[in-house]
């Protein structure tokens, strides 16, 4: 294996060489250290296939102690690294371009379940849905449910502050994490939060969740579990215009009823789903469908269902279908959760965007997205968390067609700007990673970005953990130079 020079940092760059591979093999075993290009192929992309970056080396510790030992060896040698869960991320956040990739998917133990207090302590590699399955016997579940929940890990969810359809009512990852034991890039082990009583002091759990692997590696995560709802009702309402569907969304929200989920699926997506193996029985001639789930105590739920149904109808819904049983409910959801998979039938490549706009601006933003797609001759599909204004415009295309690829990228950039222009943000749940770096300066001033850099350096002074992600360094005013600067942050955040 040839030595790989690493991107320059303010510190002496670490070198990935045979000696390092041997040191790491001494900790985890030779089979758990990969460095041949053929072995590393799996790790050159995450869930966003438009990026390919080959790690210099990948190491797969199997225990907490091994993770710590690996991190300490890297610290000793100043080698940058990228933590990775299941690699389902959608922002290129887990790509390790010539760096050491630390795979945490072998740390899959659920360390404790405290059903009475609705808590569980898990290792970072525990798969999201595996936790919900393990606690189902107690009538509990883990609420954040990203669409990739069958594969993604709690550690990855913590890094990305992952959401999911049901976070409209139940909140995102940060609302469900109580405490974290983490190893910092220096090798220091820290306990964040309080596993028992109230926490006082800085909310370092809040800071760590969503730090996209830039602050260190979670070794152990204490999460809050949620009670399973006594009753669940799922509705599918279809509309002949996007606008009337968006009005129904606002109407439902205004009632005070908080649906467990409120998802919108546009016509292009409906057609892709219906012509795939995930066909869910969505009406293919509708301009949009809303998938609405209400849950909670059985008493009073039918009343809410009736209210929602009547709002949909008065907003122009053609039909409102209420799932009769669990099988029908699962089928309605499958179409939504597998929508991106179904796009695979349309074209070879798919770019999925993630932005949030104020709910009341949805109709105009959807209109604008449509116009942008037409102008660039690309087909934009929308399937998204309408209840919280979290859009996921996606475009299927062929990467072999250079002209089309260029148009796709132009369209995506304009869509992001359109979302920011109405007061939105550039990512609601996928994270910034590599993919959104260029958009950070649209919503944050250089001073805000510098402040984020300063926070990062508290955890990682050498900037070795997932370097080059989240904060675009060129846009980030140097922290030390800042006091003399003018107040320039207005208008941008």
């Amino acid at each position: 294996m040839s030595a790989t020079a690493l991107p320059s940092t303010s510190n002496p760059p670490g070198i990935i060489d045979q000696a390092l591979a041997d040191r790491l093999a001494g900790i985890v075993g030779a089979k758990r250290v990969l460095y041949r290009p053929s072995e590393l192929l799996t790790y050159t992309s995450d869930g966003l296939p438009s990026y390919h970056k080959q790690p210099g080396l990948a190491v797969f510790p199997g225990t907490r102690d091994e993770v710590v030992a690996v991190v300490r060896v890297l610290a000793e040698r100043h080698v940058p690294f990228v933590p990775r869960g299941a690699g389902t991320g959608l922002s290129g956040g887990a790509l390790a371009d010539g760096l050491v990739l630390i795979g945490l998917n072998r740390l899959t133990r659920i360390l404790s379940i405290d059903a009475e207090n609705c808590r569980a302590v898990v290792e970072p590699g525990v798969v999201n849905v595996a936790l919900s399955r393990a606690v189902a016997q107690y009538g509990l579940h883990y609420a954040p449910d990203p669409s990739s929940q069958a594969a993604c890990t709690i550690g990855g969810n913590v890094a990305e502050n992952a959401g999911g359809p049901h976070c409209l009512k139940y909140g995102v990852t940060t609302n469900h994490v109580v405490a974290i034991t983490a190893v910092l890039p220096s090798g220091e082990i820290v306990e964040l939060g309080d596993t028992e009583g109230e926490h006082e002091g800085y909310d370092l759990v809040g800071a760590f969740v969503g730090s996209e692997g830039c602050f260190g590696i979670a070794l152990q995560v204490t999460v809050r579990l949620s009670r399973n709802a006594e009753a669940v009702r799922t509705l599918l309402a279809d509309f002949m215009s996007l606008d009337s569907a968006a009005r129904a969304v606002s109407g439902v929200v205004a009632t005070g009823i908080v649906p467990a989920a409120l998802e919108m699926i546009d016509q292009a997506t409906i057609r892709a789903v219906e012509s795939s193996i995930y066909a869910a029985g969505y009406p293919t001639d509708a301009s949009a469908a809303l998938l609405i789930e209400l849950d909670g105590a059985a008493a009073g739920l039918e009343h809410d269902v009736a209210t929602v149904e009547s709002i949909c109808k008065s907003s122009g819904a053609r039909t409102v279908r209420i799932a009769r049983d669990e099988a029908e409910r699962a089928r309605l959801w499958q179409g939504r959760k597998k929508a991106f998979g179904a796009m695979g039938r349309v074209s070879s490549h798919l770019v999925v965007q993630d932005a949030v706009v104020p709910r009341t601006r949805l109709p105009e933003v959807l209109e604008r997205i449509h116009e942008i797609g037409e102008r660039h001759r690309v087909r934009v599909c929308n399937v998204f968390h309408a209840g919280d204004g979290n859009l996921h415009p996606n475009i299927a295309y062929s990467a072999a067609d250079a002209d089309e690829t260029a148009r796709v990228h132009l369209a995506m950039r304009e869509i992001m700007r359109a979302c920011v222009d109405v007061g939105g943000t550039i990512t609601g749940e996928h994270g910034v990673g590599l993919d959104k770096l260029e958009y950070m300066a649209l919503i944050f001033s250089p001073d805000s970005l510098a402040t984020m850099c300063a926070l990062r350096e508290v955890f990682d002074p050498e900037r070795r953990a997932n370097p080059g992600k989240v904060v675009p360094m060129h846009a980030c005013r140097e922290w030390t130079a800042a006091p003399a600067a003018r107040v320039t942050s207005r208008g941008r955040a």
Binding site: N117, E160, G163, V172, N175, L184, V190, E196, G197, E198, H199, E200, G201, Y202, D203, L204, G206, A207, S211, A229, V253, A254, T255, G256, V258, G296, A297, A299, G300, H303, V356, D388, G389, G424, T425, T427, G428, E429, H430, V432, K436, F444, S445, D447, S448, A450, A454, L455, V470, V471, W479, A482, P483, A485, V487, S489, R490, G491, R492, A493
Partner: protein, 378 residues
């Protein structure tokens, strides 16, 4: 997005930079309601965000609101009530305090059982760091993972990392029916635990549920026995069923919703106030620790679902000594709200760990913002 610089923020920046240059410590306050609570802040000069007031953006359909830090909770209550909405934060002390201070101190009240604490409701904020830098974290939309979570870090930082100048919060629509009930409980051990297990078992979370001791029930004009006071929300049918679920505790009767306002303002500014907490299943033992103060006339209430017990004592030598004995003998989490200095000295200092000290240094290199409130006294 705001388009123009507030002159007020500019003045604040100048003030902080000047203080940082002189290394002169600043006491950062909103209305100043918490900083007369005996917290050990070592500062001679005070800056207030009181004049940075007013709602900047409120679109009811978005269920979000952005206001300058000095806006009082009362103003937000009034603006949102007109649209059948509320900011589901009811910190003790009432609505005279500012939004900025509520977020900075992560203060909550009974509604935390149903809606969580400020960290669950804050969407984004603007701050002036100790170096006089204006920065923002988060945004104004309900879901946002862009950049590191400066907004949550500042929530509960007690003004020691930055002066919060603007806050965006999530609102909730008020439930169709908002009803409060009271259930007298037997004055014997196990009563709080019974409420907790009921809450764990029933298929809904009430908006609020506090167990109050007999002295507090009397002070609230809510009878002479310990009681569970519960706030229920939802449609009529849901609330009726919720109410029925509490029948097993005792005889349920309706109580006017104003009881919550009385609970929030029950203590005087010179009272001794602190909280004890543990995992919810330990609530009975935490309650028992606090109940040692009943002989001193303590007003005690607990949020069983959250594992938190809160004690209010009239200040005297006797009550201070009794509180000292409780605070130094329990092993659960102990958080001071209003204490004489000798009691602050008993409590562990929050934020004394190395990482928190580094956070403080990164945001406030000259150490001028509320020194002493979090972290070791230098």
């Amino acid at each position: 997005m705001t388009a123009v610089a507030l002159p007020g923020v500019g003045a604040l920046v100048d003030r902080v930079r000047d203080a940082a240059a002189r290394r002169a410590a600043l006491r950062v306050v909103g209305q100043g309601t918490w900083f007369d609570a005996g917290r050990p802040v070592l500062a001679q000069e005070t800056i207030s965000t009181r004049d940075l007031a007013g709602i900047i953006e409120y679109v009811p359909g978005d269920l979000t609101l952005t206001a300058r830090a000095g806006t009082t909770l009362a103003e937000i209550v009034e603006a949102t009530a007109a649209h059948g909405q509320w900011l589901a934060l009811d910190p003790h002390g009432g609505d005279a305090g500012t939004l900025g201070a509520t977020i900075a101190t992560a203060s909550s009240g009974p509604l935390a059982t149903g809606f969580g604490t400020p960290r669950d409701l804050v969407l984004g904020l603007e701050l002036v760091t100790g170096a006089g830098i204006v920065a923002r974290g988060g945004g104004r939309v309900v879901k946002n993972v862009a950049g590191f979570d400066i907004a949550r870090l500042l929530t509960g930082s007690w003004g020691s990392l930055g002066v919060i100048t603007e806050v965006s919060v999530r609102l909730h629509a008020r439930p169709a029916v908002d009803e409060s009930i009271i259930v007298p409980l037997p004055a014997k051990s196990g009563a709080v635990e019974r409420v907790r297990t009921l809450l764990r078992r029933i298929p809904f979370t009430p908006l609020a549920c506090e167990v109050v001791n007999a002295a507090l029930a009397r002070a609230l004009g809510a009878g002479a026995a310990p009681a569970a006071i519960v706030r229920l929300g939802g449609n009529r049918e849901a609330v009726a069923a919720q109410r029925a679920a509490f029948d097993e505790l005792g005889s349920v009767r309706e109580i006017d919703v104003s009881v919550w306002q009385r609970l929030r303002t029950i203590e005087s500014r010179d009272a001794i106030v602190f909280r004890l907490s543990a995992l919810p299943a330990r609530i009975e033992s935490v309650w028992t620790s606090a109940a040692a103060l009943e002989g001193e006339g303590a007003l005690i209430h607990a949020a069983p679902a959250r594992g938190i017990v809160r004690c209010v004592l009239r200040r005297s030598d006797g009550t201070t000594a009794a509180a000292a004995s409780v605070l130094s003998s329990t092993s659960c989490s102990r958080i001071g709200e209003r204490l004489p200095s000798e009691l602050w000295a008993i409590l562990p200092r929050p934020g004394a760990d190395a990482l928190s000290r580094r956070v403080k240094h990164a945001f406030d290199p000259a150490g001028v913002l509320n020194p002493g409130v979090i972290g070791e006294l230098e």
